[in-house]
């Protein structure tokens, strides 16, 4: 049963990821990526990371991709010229690198010993929050500074000169 859910989510994730990087219409790209992120959230839930599954849907599907959609609408949904084939060197190099990554990752995974996972940890929001605010408190504060800097930077970049 769990395996069936995983297979469905994985196939859907790969198919929609292919659509997300290959379709010409940017709106279709973003909406396909929403499907991929939902499938990754399902994988997080299967791995026992329920808090991260919720955060994935809220942050990625809910916030980041909506930001993409806003910008696409703002720029008037620019259709990219379909002249990728004009650059054979770049195309070959890109496809070769992607193939190396996929094959290498799969080989690495297949040669791993099938060790049963350690005892499942209580991956609820309480445990993650405790770890984040005690062991990783400094990183947590740094992330808040980073988000503030990104916010100010985005505002400065899109501000119209008077």
């Amino acid at each position: 049963m769990v395996m069936a859910v995983f297979v469905v989510a994985a196939v859907l994730a790969v198919v929609s990821a292919l659509a997300a990087v290959s379709h010409r219409d940017p709106v279709v790209n973003v909406l396909s990526l929403v499907v991929t992120f939902f499938c990754v959230a399902v994988c997080f839930a299967l791995l026992g990371a329920h808090f991260l599954a919720a955060a994935q849907v809220l942050i990625y599907a809910g916030a980041i991709l909506v930001l993409f959609l806003f910008v696409i609408m703002l720029l008037g949904a620019p259709q990219t010229a379909n002249d990728e084939a004009r650059r054979p060197v770049q195309r070959t190099a890109g496809l070769a690198l992607a193939a190396i990554v996929v094959v290498g990752g799969a080989l690495l995974a297949l040669t791993m010993q099938a060790v049963p996972p350690a005892a499942p940890v209580g991956s609820n929001a309480h445990a993650i929050g405790t770890a984040m605010l005690t062991t990783h408190a400094f990183s947590f504060e740094l992330v808040s500074v980073l988000l503030l800097a990104a916010m100010v930077g985005a505002l400065v970049l899109v501000r119209r000169k008077q």
């Binding site: 997300a20 790209n29 791995l47 955060a55 990219t80 770049q90 996929v102 099938a114 970049l157």
Partner: protein
């Protein structure tokens, strides 16, 4: 039969490869940012799978930080694209020579 860590890592490798191909093959700035998001998500999936394998929560905390960094990166990247689009009415990265000297 439950999916093991190997299955999740293979899925992460597939998603990462697709994202890398998107970054290298597409020329629209938005498509490149989408490919980067896909690669970050594949990395997150591998982190969560290995965190479960090791019975530790640190991987999940790290994934949360990666999500925050991805949000910051998208905000700044899209702001850059909007600024560039205002300047030259296109977001084709092959035509971005304005920072070259």
């Amino acid at each position: 039969m439950a999916p093991s860590t190997v299955h999740f890592v293979i899925l992460a490798a597939l998603l990462f490869g697709i994202g890398a191909a998107g970054v290298l093959l597409r020329r629209s700035g938005i498509a490149i940012l989408l490919g980067i998001e896909l690669m970050l998500n594949a990395g997150n999936l591998a982190l969560v799978a290995f965190a479960r394998q090791h019975g530790s929560l640190d991987g999940q905390v790290f994934v949360f930080f990666v999500m925050a960094v991805a949000a910051a990166e998208v905000a700044v990247g899209l702001a850059l694209l909007v600024a560039i689009f205002r300047k030259q009415q296109a977001i084709d990265v092959d035509r971005l020579a304005i920072m070259r000297w």
